[in-house]
């Protein structure tokens, strides 16, 4: 077969940086999930135009399976206990960025006191994006509504005013411009999960596509 040198739009995800065979691995090297390469910059990925959400109309809504809604304004969010997680990011397009510093509110704080028997969550964003994950993955100190990055406000291109941050899953689960979460009894796949991507998306098990 003659190889086609024409650049394709998905080339960015077939090039895997390999350290090569230069002796045994050094333990000081950062551990990356399979198929990922390290990047120092912060690539901007987006499925659409960047929404601009004024803080005075911004709100975050959790709706329980029975219809009850729990709302936070921007000021109410700022009034909740704040955390400053340092986490590694793994994007399904194969870049990883380590040791990123965020400020935000733990989902444990937001979900506290919400009476639900739901097992699934459908996250939705300003601009229409959605993504799904098990509700348990939003608990246990593993997920935040993040509004700060590296000591400043979260820039709009990275999801500001606020985005979901669920760093133990591929980054498409960390919905930018987050607006709310629907708690669901049955799993409902989101924007990428209905178009071939994996329902769960664990980078350490390389769950990129359906069936992986």
């Amino acid at each position: 077969m003659v190889s086609d040198p024409t650049p394709r739009w998905y080339d960015c995800r077939v090039g895997i940086v390999s350290p090569g065979f230069q002796g045994r691995p050094r333990s000081a090297e950062p551990a990356l999930p399979p198929g990922q390469y390290l990047t120092e910059d912060f690539p901007v990925l987006s499925a659409g135009p960047t929404p601009r959400v004024p803080l005075d109309t911004w709100e975050f809504v959790v709706s329980a399976e029975g219809g009850a809604e729990y709302r936070w304004s921007w000021n109410e969010l700022m009034g909740l206990p704040q955390e400053a997680p340092t986490v590694d990011l793994h994007c399904v397009t194969r870049w990883s960025k380590l040791g990123t510093n965020w400020q935000g509110v733990s989902l444990d704080t937001l979900l506290e006191g919400i009476d639900t028997a739901a097992r699934y969550a459908l996250v939705h964003s300003y601009g229409g994006y959605t993504t799904n994950l098990p509700l348990d993955d939003l608990r246990g100190g593993r997920a935040w509504v993040a509004h700060g990055y590296d000591g400043g406000p979260l820039p709009a291109e990275h999801g500001g005013p606020a985005r979901l941050l669920v760093p133990h899953l591929y980054l498409w689960k960390s919905a930018k411009w987050v607006r709310g979460i629907r708690l669901l009894v049955d799993d409902k796949p989101g924007f990428w999960e209905t178009a071939g991507y994996h329902d769960y998306g664990d980078p350490w098990r390389e769950q990129r596509y359906q069936g992986d």
């Binding site: 394709r8 960047t50 929404p51």
Partner: protein, 97 residues
């Protein structure tokens, strides 16, 4: 739209040629959301993403999603009512009964 981070729909020609024998570059699509009819080339395509997203130039709703894995591809057209594909007059075709 607040940014110019999208490409025009002409860039879809190559990726779609992998899936279809027919050339879709001259096709016309109808937006399921707002009803706008226009050429594929007029879509706003967001490519800095896990897949290609083609949005209606009028209402910016998603009309097309194309995801490419190494061994598979997914095409999601739920945001498009139809694709109208130009075909040559002299080509035999099945007539409605």
């Amino acid at each position: 739209m607040t940014d110019m981070s999208y490409l025009d729909g002409n860039m879809l020609d190559g990726p779609l040629r992998e899936l279809f024998a027919v050339d879709l570059s001259g096709a016309t699509g109808r937006c399921e959301s707002c009803g706008t009819v226009g050429p594929m080339a007029g879509l706003h395509v967001f490519s800095h993403a896990p897949g290609l997203i083609g949005r209606c130039p009028a209402c910016s709703e998603v009309m097309l999603r194309l995801v490419r894995a190494p061994d598979r591809a997914w095409l999601d057209l739920r945001g498009s009512t139809y694709l109208q594909v130009p075909l040559p007059m002299d080509q035999p075709y099945p007539r409605p009964l």
